[in-house]
Amino acid sequence: MAFTTFIFYVLAVVLVFSALRVVTARNPVHAVLFLVLAFFNAGGIWLLLSAEFLAVTLVMVYVGAVMVLFLFVVMMLDIDFARLREGFWKYLPVGAFVGLLLAVEMGLVLGGKYFGLAAMPAPAPTAADFSNTREIGRVLYTEYAWPFELASLVLLVAMIAAVSLTLRKRRTDKWVRPETQVAVRHEARIELVKMAAEKEVEPEPEAAADDAAKA
């Protein structure tokens, strides 16, 4: 067994274990940390496939940015996780049975024979100065320009959807628009109203008629 194969199995075992812990951990913070571990190991496997750029990006973007944000969200939000995972153990046997059945069936159909080294020979090793960052950049902005631009619009959809579904104006906020404050004119600040100093109150005719009827 070559050394790289050994590393692959170590990474794969840790990856599968931590992925399972993500859904079974009782403490949500632990679940997030296991997810970080899973991403890290996946990055390692990609590194073995000599996809260095993608591996580094995975660790930087997902572990560095996305998961840290996730951790903050989990810590800040007051979610009743006990209620969320209510029924988890009740449904686990059925879910695990169905999942296992699917996995076994899919394994039986595909097995290892179609994707083994015999069916898909390993690519020739690349030269030492081969840069896959450069290669990705080259196809991403030329051949794949159309899907690349479209993917950016999908992100725009996510942005608009998130803002329109969650942003709400609070009635109680005391925020003042600076431009309306600056643009105010003195007539609007104070209004002088002229009115008589005294005002005579006339007796209501109906009330007078009522009194007359009673009398």
Binding site: M106, V109, L110, Y114, F115, A119, M120, R138, T142, E143, Y144, A145, W146, P147, E149, L150, A151, L153, V154, L156, V157, A158, I160, A161, V163, S164, L165
Partner: protein, 492 residues
């Protein structure tokens, strides 16, 4: 490495729509007071101009651009035109409904434009990756639109259900695509088709992937057994959104099926036809039977939509039989004709629901149509047209749609499924005719006159009259569908 800048001309409509979406977003961000009306007007103008661009770039030839990822053919042009019209009509119908509920925020129109762009991308895709991105763009926009009335528990619940199930279906589709890529070594549909045809790809892996592809497509079309979301989404979403979800995306789903199954997996036609046959038969049976017992007209139309999609698939699965290319084009064009007819009918039906809905009141119950003839004889007649057409009563467009689909099914030798479809649509006629009976023979409970904008009244009348007119003269549209498929990139 020589890189040639791709020809942007075939994709002018897509690029215009994408650019205009960004422009509309910027303009409405700064236009405070008029943002609602302005974004509506700009969205409609954008769609109209895109329609003209598509119309002017329409011709019989086939162009590829962006390194073969984009294909422009007559089929794509026709489908895109129907999508523009469907979205524009849906926006007109939904406007009053949205305004009464203060939902006509600029984001609504932006998401609608982006969903339209996603459909256009799917229609013109020639590459698995582009197809998937277009699908996601459409689906993500639609999830957000369904949950748009976020203060209404049913709307958010429907959005959540749609999102979770839709994400699962997208995952299935993507998994199937990865298997196809693994087996053929290419993401480009013509290359995939070639590898399938020459048996150079691994059969077992391809079939394994194909199952997932059919599953994903079935979900997006909302057919049995992937139909669970349809009634809840149609009922829970604001009716203005249901108008959009129920019409144009079905055509985009048909485009997905045509590009993926016919364009990419033609060599495995026998297998996917068998799968689709089961799906179509189950949809026609379940859709018609479940619609019988519905009290909510939106749920009834949802189940009727499931059975209509089953009919559309019936056209799609009758394509390859005995290697007759003419037969295949006829069958696929019958599916396209069915899709267009269904979009017209479903728009008119949900348009009627928005017509009867007032501020804070959804005319969801079928009882709300009671005695419509007394309240407005004209719109009762229009609804009669729509219901008769959906039931497949001659001579409305729905009748011809069913006729051509059944013709191609029988020509392909699927006699039993054609008989089953006819029997089920006779049973299904009951629930359409029940609406007509309520309108004409029952006393109205609500005698308030109908309040609706002039544009809604005019366009709804035009829509219903078009259903009747196309039923009398279906020839031109049928020829166009046939021509579109004969000259399409799929024909090669």
């Amino acid at each position: 490495m020589n890189f040639v800048v791709p020809d942007f001309y075939p994709a002018t409509a897509e690029i215009f729509l994408a650019a205009m979406t960004l422009v509309v977003m910027l303009i409405t961000a700064f236009a405070r007071r008029v943002a609602r009306n302005l974004s509506y007007a700009l969205a409609q103008t954008t769609l109209l101009v895109a329609a003209f661009i598509t119309l002017f770039t329409l011709d019989i030839g086939v162009d590829h651009t962006f390194g073969g990822m984009f294909v422009r053919d007559l089929l794509g042009g026709v489908m895109k035109l129907v999508v523009y019209v469907a979205v524009m009509v849906a926006l007109v119908y939904g406007r009053g409904y949205l305004a009464a509920r203060k939902l006509d925020r600029p984001e609504f129109f932006l998401l609608t434009l982006l969903a339209t762009l996603g459909m256009m991308v799917m229609i013109t895709a020639n590459h698995l990756l582009v197809l998937y991105i277009g699908l996601e763009m459409m689906s993500l926009s639609l999830y957000a639109l369904v949950a748009f009335n976020r203060d209404d528990a049913r709307s958010t619940e429907a959005g959540m259900k749609y999102f979770v199930l839709g994400a699962l279906a997208s995952g299935l589709l993507l998994y199937g695509m990865s298997m196809v890529y693994g087996a053929t070594g290419s993401l480009e549909l013509p290359a995939v088709a070639n590898a399938v045809f020459q048996h150079s790809a691994n059969r077992a892996v391809l079939l394994f992937g194909l199952v997932f592809l059919v599953g994903g497509i079935s979900f997006k079309l909302g057919v049995v057994p992937f139909h669970m979301w349809v009634p809840d989404v149609y009922q829970g979403a604001p009716t203005a959104v249901t108008l959009i979800v129920a019409s144009a995306p079905k055509l985009a789903g048909l485009a997905l099926a045509l590009r993926l199954l016919v364009g990419g997996m033609y060599g495995l036609a026998f297998h996917w036809q068998t799968m689709l046959m089961l799906v179509a038969a189950a949809s026609i049976v379940l859709g018609n039977l479940a619609a019988l017992v519905q009290h909510d007209i939106r749920r009834m139309l949802a189940y009727s939509g499931i059975s209509h999609m089953g009919f559309m698939l019936l056209g799609l699965l009758s394509g390859v039989a005995g290697g007759n290319a003419d037969l295949a084009a006829g069958a696929y064009s019958s599916a396209l004709f069915y899709g267009i007819a269904y979009a017209l009918m479903t728009l008119a039906a949900f348009g009627m629901v928005t017509l009867l809905s007032g501020a804070g009141f959804d005319a969801g119950n079928i009882e709300d149509f009671k005695g419509l003839n007394r309240r407005s004889p004209w719109f009762a007649l229009m609804m009669l047209f729509v219901m008769f057409s959906m039931a497949g009563i001659p001579f409305f467009v729905g009748f011809f749609a069913k006729l051509v689909v059944l013709q191609s099914a029988i020509a392909a030798g699927h006699l039993w499924i054609a008989i089953l479809a006819v029997v089920m649509s006779v049973i299904g006629a009951y629930y359409y005719l029940r609406v007509v009976k309520l309108m004409y023979f029952d006393e109205p409970e609500n005698t308030a006159p109908i309040v609706a904008g002039g544009e809604l009244r005019v366009l709804l009348s035009v829509n219903a009259l078009a259903i009747a007119a196309l039923g009398l003269m279906p020839g031109a549209l049928l020829d166009l569908c046939l021509q579109a498929l004969r000259t399409s990139a799929l024909a090669g």
